[in-house]
Symmetry: C2
Subunit: 223 residues, 2 copies
């Protein structure tokens, strides 16, 4: 049985969880708070980051959300999430990296610091300017999603792909932390409601991070 | 014919160039300075980063060094760089991300800012404290490379892989910028001299970045 070391608001773990659920791979979620810098966790992953997956029986440890996703893409045929030609696959991977690095650095990362880590670890108020910057960046990213969806059925191309899972994972955490204003982004909103209504998404939306409450509309399917 | 948009000290472009050369894929290097934020370049890659590869005839644009490497790994059999079982491949990908994100963030990125960008773009002296921090971080990363090589023939496992190319690419740029002190790291040094002597590496070592000179030993094979 796979174990997935993660915490409820880790967007990279959410991407992996969406993929595992779409593919029908069972796993046991194990709570890990990377900010605690637990020695055994650092021994497992010198980068000190979630997600990490461990299968004790098989003696396999998987580290880094992209490496984890590629692993299950290679080993489980069901619900292929890197479809198409090599060029199509490159476009999907580009977008996964786009959301994992740019969206995370400008939006999810700052929101997690200001609204989660400062509250539960440092007991400090959030920096309102950093919050404002993150929310401004979110508008630009939603514009880009609108633009992509004006040209394609799904973010990465003609079919649902890892790009959609990566984007929805980041957005869901940003949304939980009050960073997303859906006004004017009708196209992105319709796509996101579609993602939210998937069975793979429902368990994520039901989870709560201790001490941090989501906005009232967070779980709603009619935004 | 593929074009590769890059500049001589971009470590991600170096990783791609090593891969292309090992695989025998021809390409034309095209100079791009991401800090210039050229409009046509931003239209091509909204992330504004090098490397980007373009094949005009085939109408293919590849963005992000990992997506580019996966593309050529999928389309060119020669010199496979993601070898072994799915778990072996996951370990290689973990290490590529390790060098591309952690080594870059702590070492190559700060050195590029302090010793290249500040000099040629802002005409400012480097921050000596940032340089010291980067050089300290380099010692820890070389320790980790020593540790990996105590357990394996190559960084990612039993065969040369993309992990070696990613690490050598980052190290070569850090070395150009005077950030690497090889003292005491005998194992890492032996591995790096092996990488440096590969035909794929020689052209990179011969290139110069305008206004930034490497240390005298930079090209030497007997460190
Ligand atoms: N490249 C990694 C990034 C993972 C990541 O940044 N995880 C965050 C939690 S959301 C973390 O562990 N941060 C703690 C740290 O970076 O020290 C992946 O895709 O898995
Ligand atoms: N994830 C990207 C990172 C590329 C990257 O950071 N490139 C640097 C040059 S070494 C760059 O273009 N920086 C300019 C910027 O980030 O604005 C890749 O692997 O290709």
């Amino acid at each position: 049985m796979w174990q997935l070391l993660q915490f409820p608001l880790c967007p990279f773990s959410r991407k992996v969880r969406l993929l595992l659920s779409e593919k029908g791979v069972g796993y046991e979620p194990v709570r890990e708070s990377p900010w605690a810098r637990r020695d055994e966790f650092l021994d497992l992953n010198p980068a000190g980051q979630t997600p990490v997956m461990v299968d004790v029986e098989r003696g396999v440890t998987l580290i880094d959300s992209m490496a984890i996703c590629e692993y299950f893409e290679e080993t489980v045929d069901k619900a292929a999430m890197l479809n198409g030609t090599a060029a199509d696959r490159a476009e999907i991977r580009r977008l996964v990296t786009w959301f994992d690095t740019h969206f995370f650095r400008e939006i999810t990362g700052p929101l997690l610091l200001e609204r989660m880590e400062k509250r539960i670890v440092h007991r400090l108020p959030p920096d309102t300017r950093a919050l404002r910057d993150a929310m401004k960046a979110a508008v630009e990213h939603l514009d880009y999603i609108d633009y992509l969806l004006d040209h394609r059925a799904w973010l990465g191309g003609a079919t649902m792909s890892l790009a959609d899972l990566a984007a929805a994972a980041q957005i869901s955490v940003a949304d939980y932390l009050g960073g997303i204003d859906w006004k004017t982004h009708t196209t992105a909103k319709r796509w996101y409601v579609g993602m939210k209504s998937r069975p793979s998404f429902r368990p994520l939306l039901a989870e709560r991070m201790e001490g941090v409450a989501p906005p009232p509309d967070y779980e709603k399917l009619d935004l």
